[in-house]
Amino acid sequence: MFEKATTTSKIGTFWKSFKFAFYCMSHPLDGFWDLTHEKRGTYAAANAILILTLVARIMKLRFTSFVFDPVYWEDINIFLYLASILLPLALFVVGNWGLTTLFDGKGRLGQVYMATCYAMLPYPLMQFPLMIASNLVTIEEGQFYTLLDELSLVFVVLLIIAAMGQIHEYSMAKNLLFTVASLFAMLVIVFILLLFFSMISQGVAYFISLGRELLFRL
């Protein structure tokens, strides 16, 4: 009776789906399959993990010992710093979805986003303790810190690859191929965006000069 009440309440479903991220982390293949096919994940939890990741990235600047991460504060732009996560994420999600839809991937755009966010959980999970640990070790013991620091990123990448395979229902080889292909898709998107912006600005400049010319003549 009590059990049932929590699952139906909003916070209860959020908690349950959030906790499912830990299951995905320890059982990637099974977890990410259930994430979409059994509808165990929610966007709320995905957003929460993304926010946690962003917070971890910013807090890392301030709370990591200067020995490992000296920060030139004069040059830090917090929005650019956040964009360094958000922009690649958006590009990857769109690029991956755009590509996999063409090659019978089963995942939808939202599902790609949700799975990618779920896969990012190890980053905040490892970075917060690492921030504390960095203040407790000397430069000679820093090898452990840098190793774990890199490991958190490797973990995330492996989880993302596993997640993509499961939600698109791809075989291993096909999955790897399309993960690499998504990176190229990201490049293509960036290229087209740049092209688009420069074209638009040229077009606008043309009409502005046309207008100026008219004003001169009139």
């Binding site: 200067f66 020995v67 490992f68 000296p70 030139y72 407790l136 000397t138 430069i139 000679e140």
Partner: protein, 500 residues
């Protein structure tokens, strides 16, 4: 009337304030004479480290014939030797006071030698017995004479297959060690320093660049044709510009003759400290390379990296390099960190037109300008003296005196990275680790911070060992106890005797 005075005084006052504020604003845009780089490589203006006390011309020295393209300086005790290349002579001067020199002698040649007259001597060195060594460049020899200028020895072109037989041998700069061995920079020799034994025989080259083994180069060379391979020759020539024998017998050698790109990429070191074996033992613990100006823009009509043309080393291991490109002096300490940088091209005192040689007397620096034919004497300012005092007291082991001196430096210049690290190091030696850590953290000195932190952590653990053990025990014991209790309760609940 009163009102008029009031308005007038207000006007005067406001205009004075306005003028003062614009002056301040102007001063803020002009960079100072002395500067330094911080951890991030940003230029930090600095109070003057050295003052040009006096600029000595030939007239000030009391010379009848003025200098003509002088090239070399040498200091032995209070005696200053100037190599007056254009007049084929060596002028010996004695420092009689802080701002006065007296001519002791003028050496024009060597007695009892096949060629008696000097021909464009470029450098001179004197040993403890008073024997004088002269790099007699256009006579293609280095000549050794006793203190009465009688000929003793001659060091000539090395008879070795590695030097072209027909090439003209021109010794340019020399240094001697305590055993009277001669080290020589000869123009056109790009295999390092030419080393002679004290009996005049050539004994080899010292301090050539080691060509690093590069795997990609090897691959390319396997593919390339014979002609392409010849073009790719990965030989980095070592053509030194000048050398200096320091008080410990190490040779400081500088070069600017390399390709600017090689200096920028640190393929060639602008400064090297060579030991007896000829290997480079210069400590480079700074965040930035030891090659003078970090920014090589073409401001003021000068471009490219600093061109180190001479170097001198104090007894406190601070070495000063002379940049002939932008006419600046760069001082580095034994860790390779910049202590000061000052100077520039110009006609004012303390600026140069073509500086060529640098020497030191005590803490004073002497710089020879070959175009102006002047010797500029620099003396440390109060700021400079404080820094030197702090460094020397630290080396002597008086850490509290050193700390006090560094703190005075900080009171004068709060942007001086070395002072923070200096205070930190002095505190570290006084076992005040927590304070030391704060000073190191301010200037991002991770290496020293870790040293202090290691000790601090050790102390902390020793002080709190009771609590640490208690917490660790609690972490293990409490869950264990809870588990035990749960197990017992489960046993009781499921025990047969309690079942209905």
């Amino acid at each position: 009337m009163k009102r008029m005075i009031k308005i007038f005084s207000a006007f005067v006052l406001s205009s004075a304030v306005l003028a003062a504020s614009t002056m301040v604003a102007q001063a803020a845009f002009e960079s100072s004479y002395t500067y330094n780089y911080d951890y991030w490589g940003d230029v930090q203006d600095s109070p003057d480290f050295y003052n040009a006390t006096k600029v000595f011309t030939s007239v000030d020295f009391g010379l009848e014939t003025p200098f003509n393209q002088p090239n070399g300086l040498f200091v032995k005790g209070e005696k200053l030797y100037v190599c007056d290349t254009g007049n084929n002579r060596i002028v010996v001067l004695d420092r009689t006071g802080k701002e006065s020199f007296a001519v002791v002698d003028i050496i024009e040649g060597v007695k009892g030698s096949p060629i008696e007259k000097f021909n464009a001597p470029t450098d001179v060195a004197v040993n403890d017995e008073g024997d004088i060594f002269v790099a007699d460049s256009n006579n293609h020899r280095i000549v050794k004479m006793d203190k009465d200028y009688n000929f003793l020895l001659e060091f000539t072109k090395p008879n070795t297959s590695t030097i072209d037989k027909d090439a003209i041998y021109t010794p340019a700069k020399i240094a001697i060690d305590t055993a009277d061995r001669v080290y020589c920079v000869a123009s056109g020799v790009n295999k390092g320093l030419v080393k002679y034994e004290n009996d005049g025989t050539f004994s080899g080259f010292v301090g050539a660049t080691k060509t690093p083994y590069d795997f990609t180069d090897y691959i390319w060379k396997r593919i390339a044709t014979q002609e392409q391979r010849a073009q790719m020759e990965n030989f980095v020539p070592t053509e030194y510009d000048n050398l200096y024998m320091d008080y410990e017998g190490f040779i400081y050698a500088v070069t600017g003759k390399a390709e600017p790109s090689d200096i920028r990429s640190e393929k060639i070191d602008a400064v090297r400290k060579l030991n007896l074996l000829g290997s480079d033992i210069l400590v480079r613990n700074w965040e930035w390379p030891v090659y003078g100006d970090l920014y090589m823009g073409n401001g003021g009509g000068f471009e490219g990296p600093s061109y180190f043309t001479d170097v001198t080393t104090f007894e406190n291991d601070i070495y000063v390099c002379l940049d002939k490109n932008r006419a600046r002096l760069f001082g580095y300490n034994d860790q390779g960190k910049m202590v000061f940088a000052f100077g520039g091209n110009g006609n004012l005192d303390g600026y140069f037109r073509k500086p060529i040689a640098i020497e030191h007397m005590g803490h004073d620096i002497l710089v020879l300008d070959t175009l102006d034919c002047t010797v500029t004497v620099f003396s440390p300012t109060e700021f400079g003296q404080l820094v030197y005092n702090a460094i020397e007291q630290f080396d002597a082991g008086n850490y509290d005196v050193s700390e006090a001196s560094w703190r005075e430096v900080l009171a004068i210049d709060g942007n001086y990275d070395l002072a923070y690290i200096g205070v930190g190091r002095a505190l570290l030696r006084q076992e005040r680790y927590k304070e030391a850590m704060e000073y190191f953290e301010l200037k991002y000195d991770g290496e020293n911070y870790s040293k202090a932190f290691k000790q601090y952590r050790k102390e902390w653990v020793e002080d709190h060992i009771g609590i640490i053990v208690a917490v660790l025990l609690a972490i293990f014991l409490i869950p264990m106890a809870i588990g035990k209790v749960r197990a017992v309760r489960y046993e009781i609940r499921t025990a047969d005797i309690f079942k209905r």
